[in-house]
């Protein structure tokens, strides 16, 4: 029993249910007249789902804490990619309009 106490089932099942509920929210939200907020809702839900999977399924909580640094590194560099691309997009008039 002691080993079972150290390996609880609950967090995994709860995370799975929450992920499915978020999927449902994403689908329902898609059909609501939210205008420009649609993108924020869709990507916000995707980011929340990813955070849940990273923390619960991929066990970012707990040792070794160095994992956080490794996990954050990719997203840190992604920030450069997105911000520099956004600057280019905002300052260039090259895109034809359709």
């Amino acid at each position: 029993m002691s080993s079972r106490r150290r390996e609880p089932l609950g967090p995994y099942v709860i995370a799975w249910i929450v992920l499915l509920v978020l999927l449902g929210l994403s689908i329902v939200g898609a059909y609501q007249p939210l205008g420009a907020w649609h993108a924020l809702l869709s990507f916000g839900i995707a980011a929340t789902q990813t955070a849940i999977v990273f923390i619960v399924f991929m066990k970012l909580r707990g040792r070794p804490h160095l994992k956080w640094l490794f996990a954050a590194a990719g997203f840190f560099w992604l920030l450069f990619l997105f911000s520099l691309s956004a600057i280019d997009y905002a300052t260039r008039n090259g895109f034809p309009t359709h």
């Binding site: 994403s26 689908i27 939200g29």
Partner: protein, 214 residues
């Protein structure tokens, strides 16, 4: 037989496992950049041609995309439960959960294949068979190009995951893993769940578009 001694460079099996997992996190960081570049391109084009992306996105099959997300989320659960079974020394549950994970992976690929067939039937395959229908202009083809490249690369990643999980299942059936030694399960589990996360973002890019009116 599972190794009972760690490699010479490690203090114990736990440190060896943690090192292997950190290695997978480094690989995942490169994958974040790989898929991130793809999605950054998508964001720039969507911001440039919002109406065309809504029109094209409305023709994607949200029911199949949603079913596939539910399948993937469930497969991540079975994968993590398989690792739990290894920690509890429950070999039968471990093998069954790994096989269930692989089966869910196959189910995803099957649904995706059916979806591709439906997309092809509606002439939405850029370059090969693309018809400019109801309000489509050139950027609509960009949307479908992103759709096939992104979901195709994701499917390749998932297929690699299925092979890895099946190899683990065969090793698990032979008793290769113990509560002390199951690092390969942890490492493949990280990969599998990450591929699941990629789908969350691809779903957000593709399926909700244009549902509330174009």
């Amino acid at each position: 037989m599972p190794p009972v001694e760690p490699g010479v460079q490690y203090a114990d099996l736990e440190q060896q496992s943690e090192t292997a997992q950190l290695g997978m996190w480094v690989f995942i960081a490169t994958e974040v950049l790989f898929f991130g570049a793809l999605i950054a391109t998508y964001v720039l084009y969507r911001a440039s041609y919002p109406a065309q992306f809504r029109i094209a996105g409305h023709d994607s099959l949200i029911l199949l995309g949603s079913i596939n997300q539910a399948i993937l989320v469930t497969s991540s659960l079975t994968m993590v439960l398989a690792i739990r079974a290894a920690r509890l020394a429950d070999r039968r549950a471990l093998v069954r959960l790994l096989l269930a994970t692989a089966a869910l992976g196959f189910a995803f690929i099957g649904v995706k294949g059916y979806e591709y067939a439906r997309d092809a039937a509606s002439h939405s395959v850029p370059v090969i068979d693309f018809v400019f229908k109801h309000g489509y202009r050139a950027p609509a083809e960009l949307f479908w190009t992103f759709y096939f490249i992104a979901t195709g690369i994701h499917a390749v990643h998932l297929s690699i995951g299925i092979v890895l999980v099946l190899i683990l299942a065969a090793r698990a059936a032979r008793g290769a893993f113990t509560p002390l030694y199951h690092a390969p399960l942890e490492v493949v589990g990280l990969y599998w769940s990450f591929v699941d996360c990629v789908w969350f973002f691809l779903f957000a890019c593709i399926y909700p578009l244009g549902r509330a009116g174009i």
